[in-house]
Subunit: 262 residues, 2 copies
């Protein structure tokens, strides 16, 4: 049961609306229907992803290809957060990110950088690029932002290093800690609520990751619904510190409860 | 004052026998003379370096070019330690090291590797090489050795990342901790003493690094002399936990005390 009627909904994408099976997107059962019910209800929503290798436009296209009807301006990602931060502070970023999202930073002056932004640059993590990044960090004069800190991922049956490996290395050598722009940081959920013109306490987050989605959102003051799809495992329901406001079988059930709460 | 007459001497190279000034080796004042006195005394010695970008042959040549008279078999480095470990355990190593020392591993079968060895590979730290290394580590079935864990170094006025950055990243993503083959590990000092046919308690280590040289050697059971050359700073003499057996002005003074101890 929710503690109060949410005025807005934040919803994770992977593991809640869709899964990736052998790199092919597949809508989770009844998720297209659930999402349509949410849209028809008029309750404002934002889709919240930690994906930093696709632009929000590309994410919207991926969803629409499998039956959803969503526009890019309804999706936020770690890139959205850092772009917002840069605009608010008028920063000149040094950027080492995946080439698929590099264009998002083209709008900013990148000369004489005053902050450092590192995302999942994959093949662009060369020794030379790591050195360039390190030299800007060492001494601690610039703030260090990362677009995630995951350890690795499975790509077509092969394990590949994620950005976390390179962030941890840069943190070790520069002795500067990175601030994570994605979930579970409160900055992420605050921005998502702000996009809806609401405060965190007025929104609910739906996610399959007990720490990153539910724990992060609840830390920021939101309600949190854990769904039993995607990466959900039985033990997540008995997490030592994160107690979801509600555990739902799937996003259909979650949205049903949200809409029927008075 | 030393607590007993050492039967053998371990001596650091950089900062004790020589400094590098703009990448040029320069013998430290009276170090050539001191080293000659040690050799003439007949007390057995080993030079102990953490250098993993040069073979012991190349290190000997560098020293002899500035007035010393030393042979490669009197020098041990992290590569010497790991080569010894591999021989003793009959390992098949996967090796990601600097091209300048790669030949030292050519003697070993590197197919179907059962241990992972990472040194300062510099430009060879590509995303692909990091992934290959990571895949062998994740799961924790193979022991992980590193040839050092320094954060960075100064190369002709420019800071460059050292192996520690990449080790820390691989440790973070694989959740496997690396064992350091160089100083300050006890394995290093044990091997050095063994080369002299002595036990650690019978040898003294001379170094300019309070932690890596003096702390490491004393942990292994050796006596430790800190010299006030190289990277020595005033605060090192007041280290919270490492109390050198003796603090000497330089290697000449250190060897003078060793030779005159009854």
């Amino acid at each position: 049961m929710l503690s109060k009627k949410p005025q807005g909904v934040l919803c994770d994408i992977s593991g809640v609306l869709k899964n990736s099976v052998n790199r092919v997107d597949v809508a989770i059962e009844k998720s297209v229907e659930a999402f349509q019910r949410l849209q028809e209800s008029g309750i404002p929503y934002v889709l919240c992803t930690n994906e930093s290798c696709y632009t929000t436009e590309a994410m919207a296209k991926k969803l629409n290809r499998i039956g959803f009807n969503v526009s890019a301006d309804k999706i936020i990602s770690p890139v959205s957060v850092i772009v917002q931060v840069i605009k608010e502070n008028n920063n000149r970023p040094y950027v080492l990110v995946n080439e698929k999202v590099a264009d998002e930073f083209a709008q900013f002056d990148q000369t004489n950088p005053d902050i450092v932004v590192v995302g999942d640059a994959e093949d662009d993590f060369t020794y030379e690029a790591m050195n360039r990044t390190f030299r800007l960090l060492v001494g601690g004069e610039r703030k260090f932002y990362c677009l995630g800190k995951s350890k690795y991922y499975l790509d077509s049956g092969v394990l590949k290093l994620e950005v976390g490996c390179f962030i941890a290395g840069l943190e070790y050598s520069s002795q500067v800690q990175a601030e994570i722009c994605g979930k579970p940081s409160s900055a992420f959920f605050n921005l998502a609520a702000k996009m809806l013109g609401l405060s965190p306490s007025d929104v609910v987050m739906i996610g399959d990751d007990i720490d990153s989605d539910v724990g992060g959102a609840m830390n920021a003051g939101c309600q949190g619904i854990l769904v039993k799809t995607g990466k959900y495992r039985e033990k997540d329901a008995h997490h030592p510190t994160v107690k979801p406001t509600l555990i739902a079988d799937n996003v259909y059930h979650a949205i049903d409860v949200i809409l029927s709460t008075k």
